[in-house]
Amino acid sequence: MEAFTTHTGIGVPLRRSNVDTDQIIPAVYLKRVTKTGFDDGLFSAWRTNDPDFVLNQPVYAKGSVLVAGPDFGTGSSREHAVWALRDYGFKAVLSTRFAEIFRGNAGKQGLVAGILSQDDLEQLWKILEENPGTEVTVDLDNRQAHAADATFRFEVDDYTRWRLMEGLDDIGLTLRHEEDITAFEATRPAWMPKTLPARTAD
């Protein structure tokens, strides 16, 4: 994972709440077995059918900081939603509330998911709509976003921020504690489920 400290790019105001992961990338794009190349699926229904959709406006099309309404990333656990945002070029999403699985997935892939207050969200939307193409700087170190002359504080938990800034691989971190895992396994009761050897009803 690439380390993240700050990023500056065009802010994209997405004035919608409950943007579920089926909207971010529909299920038909989930059949691939690769981890990249999902940008064509990003918001595909809206990009195809709605000329007013924000990413269909040339000034926002090259955006890399998405500013979305509450409950972003709800629904399906598909990490493809994060891959699609990343592949399109987004480096950060700011919203007042994220679905937890989405937020977890973002943290694994180097996509910043920062939580803004409702007032700040409204103000940031206003800046990005009144002056389309305005750049937003996402400063992860200080947990601040800057746009025009305004500064907004966003929340990211300490651990995720540290991992993002260091670009650390979670599995490698966990395997530092392999002895603890082995010790824990030795205490597990015998009745715990085992898939092997396979048993079936007949």
Binding site: V33, G75, S77, N105, I171
Partner: protein
């Protein structure tokens, strides 16, 4: 110290407490895999030269992409076929148990786990699928994860996680005839909203929950994610033990006794403190239906399509406006006047044998509305076999429904079972998102008995709308 059910299960799985803001490292007892969210995880293992840590705590099946007809022929869609073949190859390479299309144990992961007796109280269960919350019905801590986490669990059998908050969802009283577990959970989501459960494990309790069968409880826990919750749980009781006992992987002999004595400790202490509580009165519940494009946009079936002005909150008002436009609905229309084109009976929410029985009990002796297509998709191959043993397939076929093979099917439309643009469905599944069941398709979420009554009348209906010929069996409370 007094604890909630979720806190107890959590505490018993902590490998290592996090220090200095680090998350806890939580042990995972069981991982379920399917073809859509696993290929990139296996690739990750290969790239790093890692092996799965516990293949004896891992099981795979094929469900999201699988066709529900002609399953003995090669899968026509090449990308779907490739994805399924990739899972088969990965299972073989890494030694993971797999139940493939055509196998009696194949089916939707969340139907297969409980059916095999792998899902049991007090364990931790994960799957790269948000509806993993289903398994919480047994008093397991079960939640959906992303593909990076699937790889993490394969490699380490653990996950770094911050503890969840707990919310008690107390459902008092008793359900009226014709009102089901599905109506309880749709009412809960309408009450707390799609983000209301964010950060919480919901524990469902109260008389109405105790009175439900295991399958009804699974329906409720299944949709916890639709309220934004990480998981849903129900404390194990006699109903749970009876369901688990003698299943293929259930503990046996002395192991069973030891397990049961532990499982009996798995309840929230009387003086446990929840971070939040909501109370729902089951006595007042009616059959519920969604009118919009998120599962929180639901109302009792006797109601009318709301107007955007009915919503005080600006975000809700704007969301309602968009939803009504997408759903092509006019405020003030009686929900029961909404015509549907397709009835979908199935999914991990309502694709179990009791669901099929409830659906059949309403259809039996009645005629399908000529304009409605009815698709019945069992949750697993074994559910299909059992339904056929009970003669339910004949009821479906006589009625004019299509009786399909097991899988996720039209719940998410990854296989050819999709709505056409503009088509409207009454669906027993879990998500009414835009385009979820097919590009441009419109979804109303309902219970199996409402789906059945709708298939008879052609408009959203409950069994009580079927008039003088209501069979007594329609009026029995069902799961």
């Amino acid at each position: 110290m007094a604890g909630t059910l979720a806190e107890k299960v959590w505490a018993d799985h902590v490998v290592r407490r996090g220090e200095n803001g680090e998350p806890d490292l939580l042990y995972i007892d069981l991982q379920l895999l399917h073809e859509v969210t696993s290929p990139q995880a296996f690739d990750g293992l290969r790239q790093e030269g890692r092996a799965p840590r516990r293949i004896d705590q891992t099981i795979a099946t094929e469900d999201h992409n699988t066709p529900t007809i002609d399953i003995d022929k090669p899968i026509a869609d090449i990308t779907s076929r490739t994805q399924i073949e990739t899972l088969r190859r990965n299972a073989e390479e890494f030694g993971v148990r797999i139940h493939s299309l055509g196998d009696k144990e194949q089916g939707i992961v969340h139907v297969v786990g409980p059916q095999l007796g792998l899902t049991m109280p007090g364990i931790t269960v994960v799957c790269g699928d948000s509806h993993t919350s289903t398994h919480g019905a047994f008093g397991a801590l079960a939640f959906g994860i992303g593909t990076s986490e699937v790889e993490h669990v394969l490699a380490t059998q653990t996950l770094p996680l911050n503890p969840f908050k707990t919310m008690a969802v107390t459902v008092t009283g008793a359900l009226k005839p014709g009102v089901t577990a599905k109506d309880i959970i749709l009412a809960v989501i309408a009450k707390i909203g799609t983000g209301g459960g964010a950060g919480y494990v919901l524990e469902y309790r109260g008389e109405a929950i105790r009175d439900l069968s295991m399958e009804g409880r699974m329906t409720i826990c299944n949709m916890s994610i639709e309220a934004g919750a990480r998981a849903g749980m129900i404390a194990p009781d006699e109903t749970t033990l009876e369901y688990v006992k003698d299943r293929p992987h259930a503990p046996q002999g002395a192991d069973w006794d030891e397990a049961v004595s532990y499982w009996k400790t798995l309840r929230s202490d009387d003086d446990a403190v929840f971070d939040a509580e909501v109370v729902i009165d089951a006595d007042t519940l009616e059959p519920f239906v969604t009118w919009g494009t998120n599962p929180g946009q639901g109302l009792p079936l006797s109601g009318e399509v709301p107007a955007p002005e009915d919503f005080v909150d600006e975000t809700d008002r704007f969301a309602a406006e968009r939803a009504l436009e997408y759903m092509d609905l006019v405020p003030g229309t009686a929900l029961k006047d909404i015509k549907v084109d397709t009835v979908f009976m199935g999914s991990c929410t309502n694709g179990r044998i009791e669901d099929l029985r409830a659906f059949a009990s309403v259809l039996e002796g009645r005629t399908k509305h000529p304009d409605v297509r009815v698709l019945v998709v069992p949750g697993s191959a074994r559910v299909r076999l059992q339904a056929e043993q009970e003669g339910l397939d004949k009821v479906f076929l006589d009625f004019g429904a299509e009786w399909r093979q097991a899988g996720c099917s039209m719940c998410l439309g990854m296989n050819p079972d999709q709505l056409a643009p503009g088509e409207r469905a009454a669906s027993t599944s879990n998500r009414n998102f835009e385009g979820r069941q097919g590009k441009g398709g419109r979804t109303h979420l309902v219970s199996p008995v409402v789906a059945a009554a709708t298939a008879v009348r052609g408009t959203l209906s409950s069994p009580s709308d079927l008039g003088a010929d209501v069979a007594p069996s329609d009026l029995q409370p069902v799961a």
